[in-house]
């Protein structure tokens, strides 16, 4: 009885509070575009004094690649820290000579690998045409030559430090000395983002450094850096229990569109990028018309605009046309399944094709995931607590620029097998497809979504990343307009999308289990 009263009181407060909050959510952004086409978003605010988070985004990611150059977007992210004719070298002319020499050797090597070594591979003589253990004598001598050039450029050759033209990681040194922190970049399917936090009085340095590398990157260490990326791939994908399986599941799920290959790229492609390919990519996607900057924090917007104009106007707008992303995902016609065995707990992932970001159905789909998630969500109450067959269970709606997916993930508990989670998931779906959500349940989820949209804006860097994604996928205004769209979702909308997308023929199922448990499962099935 006491609790009922309590609830009613709460409901009143909350509904008032949230209606208020949704309308109050306004991030005031000053937007402007330079004559060369580069757009900027400025958000001055003082809650975190003395610091500014600043970044820029290239509207390009792995979706813009094609077989043969997969992973090149991510490789570029590495290249962007390698300097220019000013930063990263003590002798730009000599350094260029090194790079030209290296390119000549590596081009010959590539040509040999792609002809002779690929043929040996096709004949079954060797298992990896790129692996140096399979080098022919000619290839081996070229590799030594390339290595000698790289070492000389770094001052680690026979002649000692005198031949060095590189100043190692000078880009980082300049920022570190100036109090830059959290400098990093990321590449995703649809965008590449470079960001840092600097003291408020160093915004001009940011403008200098970033416009310099956008104006004049020379792709220094173009060949040696791919060893690092190979190690990154080994770390993230090859040496983790599920890494390679998840990569394969992803490629199985997407049939035709550019989300089918991993952001880090296929290993063969990673070895093969040529300087010409990099140049075309650079001249196409890293032009000011395809870039935007975001500055959030404690700064004077007038002064910031002055710096931005002063420095970023030097970027050449270029003349390459942006190739549109053409290939759409084809309709899936039949269920797909993958059975993986390895060092991982028995888990299941079920995926469905849905819609791109900003699609009218993306809002009810996001809400649907929220109905299922968290401790009071349906998955926890039925699978984790109720039946006790899951240790964890969650749903997510991932809407990208050109397509989207919805997924269910569950890890079994005790003796339960993934197939039980699969069955339980279908039962949850059936409820969503046939029964209406109660007003209270919908209200609860909306409250949570509104509050978390809000909390994400508290920190400068987190707001920067939000703006980066919103603008790259849709429009930065989405950060202010989105909350009202979620607020407008009805129980009917949720039921409608539950019926539209969650069909047997539209799903792909991955089941992971340990080899031992597979045996048990088979026995249980007998």
């Amino acid at each position: 009885m006491r609790l009922q009263v309590f609830f009613r009181l709460v409901v009143l407060v909350v509904i008032f509070g949230f209606a208020d909050m949704v309308s109050a959510q306004k991030v005031s952004v000053e937007e402007f575009t330079l004559p060369n086409g580069m757009q900027f978003l400025l958000v001055p605010r003082t809650d975190q004094p003395n610091v500014v988070s600043a970044g820029w985004v290239a509207r390009v990611g792995s979706v813009n690649e094609r077989p043969g150059i997969t992973g090149i977007s991510h490789f570029f992210e590495h290249m962007m820290f390698k300097g220019t004719n000013t930063i990263g070298t003590r002798n730009p002319d000599k350094d260029r000579t090194f790079r030209v020499e290296q390119k000549k050797v590596r081009d010959q090597m590539n040509q040999l690998v792609l002809s002779e070594q690929y043929e040996r591979y096709r004949n079954g003589e060797i298992d990896d045409p790129w692996d140096s253990v399979n080098d022919t004598p000619r290839l081996k001598s070229l590799r030594t030559k390339l290595d000698t050039l790289i070492r000389a450029q770094q001052g680690r050759g026979k002649a000692g430090p005198a031949t060095a033209t590189i100043v190692k990681d000078e880009f980082d040194q300049v920022y570190t000395k100036a109090g830059g922190s959290g400098m990093n970049a990321f590449t995703s399917y649809d965008l590449t983002c470079y960001f840092i936090t600097v003291p408020s009085n160093k915004l001009e340095l940011w403008a200098w450094m970033e416009s310099d590398r956008l104006n004049d990157s020379v792709f220094r260490e173009f060949y040696s850096e791919r060893d690092v990326v190979h190690e990154e791939r080994r770390l993230r994908t090859d040496s983790t229990p599920t890494g390679r399986f998840q990569e394969q599941f992803n490629s199985m799920f997407w049939a035709s569109c550019g989300y089918a290959w991993p952001v880090i790229g296929w290993p063969s492609d990673l070895n093969s990028y040529t300087f010409e390919q990099a140049q075309v990519y650079w001249n196409t996607y890293y032009r000011p018309g395809n870039l935007f900057g975001v500055v959030v924090g404690d700064f004077d917007p007038k002064q910031a605009k002055r710096y931005i104009k002063q420095y970023f106007s030097r970027l050449d707008p270029g003349s390459n046309k942006l190739p549109p992303v053409v290939t759409l995902e084809v309709e899936q016609l039949a269920e797909q399944r993958m059975n993986a065995i390895g060092d991982f707990p028995p888990t299941i992932e079920i995926r469905y094709h849905t819609v791109p970001a900003g699609h009218v159905d993306s809002y009810p789909l996001d809400m649907l995931a929220e109905v299922l998630n968290e401790r009071t969500g349906r998955l926890y109450t039925t699978m984790v607590e109720g039946r006790g067959i899951a240790a964890t269970a969650s749903a997510s709606s991932d809407t990208r620029k050109y397509a989207g997916l919805f997924s269910f993930d569950g890890m079994t508990r005790g003796d339960a097998v993934p197939e039980q989670l699969e069955q339980a998931w279908y039962e949850e779906l059936a409820k969503l497809q046939t029964e209406d959500l109660s007003e209270r349940e919908l209200r609860k989820v909306k409250n949570r979504v509104a509050a978390s949209n809000y909390r994400r804006l508290e920190n400068n860097m987190s707001l920067l990343i939000q703006l980066a994604f919103s603008e790259a996928l849709l429009d930065w205004e989405e950060i202010n307009e989105g909350p009202a769209k979620y607020e407008a979702v009805t129980a009917d909308d949720i039921k409608r999308v539950a019926n539209k997308y969650f069909k047997e023929t539209n799903r792909s199922v991955a089941i992971y289990r340990r080899s031992m448990e597979q045996v048990t499962a088979k026995e249980a099935g007998k």
Binding site: L3, F6, L9, V10, V13, A24, P35, R45, Q48, N50, V51, F81, T86, S132, D169, F171, Q173, T176, K177, S181, P199, K202, E204, L205, W208, M209, N215, S224, D227, V228, V229, E231, E232, R234, L235, S239, P241, Q310, S313, R314, D316, P317, S319, F344, E374, R375, V384, E385, G388, T412, R413, G414, R443, K444, N447, A450, S452, Y454, R455, L457
Partner: protein, 500 residues
Amino acid sequence: MNHQALKNIICVRPLAGVIAVILLCFSQVFAIPPRPEAIEFQPLEYTPPRAADFRRMLSDGTIVYVAESHEFPLVNVSITFKGGGSLDPAATPGLASVMARMVREGGAGDMSPAMFDETLDFLATEMSVSAGNTFTTARMNSLSGNLDESLQLFVTMLRKPAFEKQRLEVVKARLLESLKQRNDNASSILAREWKAMLYGRNHFEASQPTASSVEAISREQLEAIHRQIIHPGNMIVAVSGDFAVEEMLEKLTEAFQGWERGAVAPDPKMPEAVLVPGLYHVQKEIPQGKVVLGKRGIVRDDPDAIPLLLLNEILGAGGFTSRLMQKVRSNEGLAYSVRSILSQRINYPGAFQATFESKNPTVALATKIVLGEIALIRQQPVTDEEIEVAKQGLIETFPRQFESKPTTLQVFVNDEWTNRPKDYWQTFREKVRSVTKDDLLRVAKKHLDPSQMAILVVGDWEAIASGDLEGRATMKEFFGGEVKHLPLRDPLTLEPLPLD
């Protein structure tokens, strides 16, 4: 090339653009300094906040650090209790951590767990409780409009957790599933075995629950450790956000009324184990070996702490400007991540360690380079440029210690709990400035002696031991090639498994 491009713009852009472009041409000619060093920066005066300006005491003696901030209609409450894993009974590692989870998940007062969660969710109030090694923290973030209800729920949860039986079963089951995954990932094997080598398997830094110790956890045990940790005699509060200070203090006083004060929890016990130098290995068949090497380090308040902090930046903590990153990653492409870590503890020495991963044949080479860099930094002074970059980096990023109200208050809470010298932050930058290259050489010699270090490798030994194709290094080079193969442990019992 740029001018040509600008002409192109003039052709296609409207007049306003033309003017802008012309002006910009001027600014470009006259105003872009040739190098970043040529830019003149406005000085940025910064005085770190003082704890005393935020510290208040409630009538019951509870210390509260409090700060208003009105940019968002949100309130953050964080309560830090002394003790965590450090108070686990020997037979029940992880008890404090399960208690913390159960305080949050097991219901509060006469509200069932489901009803408690439902109410919080509806209010969109976030709460969490977690136990670390030496402190347990409870956090709440609510909309300021829901502050009263949220605060009432938060304090009820802490004072009167229900520890409901079914939820305890769920928490145990989840923990059990995570135990089963102990050997799946090489990195978690590395972390587990390294801690055991550093601190001893029975010290709370390294101790781990087993399936049977988890099963045995009872409601009575939870209540006992809850009584010991969660009470006003053992806590310091931090509150920031959208409220008026005096009003907030009244609310807290009221909320804590009648809450029994117990004794402050005891200090954590010292580890007894001594790291035995040598080469160690755990078998795991993956294409990349994971390595950690190092030794026991210093306590936080060691007089050498600041020079060591700078030395560590130069050696391996300073990202791309550090020597390890340059030599192992940038120059040789042997690893994606390589770094050194100086972890400090309050009551007993922490650790100095370097970690990296490399494809199997180059694990030895990367190890050799890392050890070489450690040897070098003990032989020769660092360069002027290196110490300058490291000092400037620490001084310029110093304000970020206090970047938001919640982080600022948390610093003060931690300082009070750990008796950090009162002038620490006020004098920090001066102490950094006064460090010399000789100081760095001295602390390197004193604290980074490689003969006291152990190397631990998790990976495929056969592929790792013989080293790289060019013969630049093999694992034989370390400790005379004498390797101690450590057994993998059964994920549920932690009993050693037979070595193949």
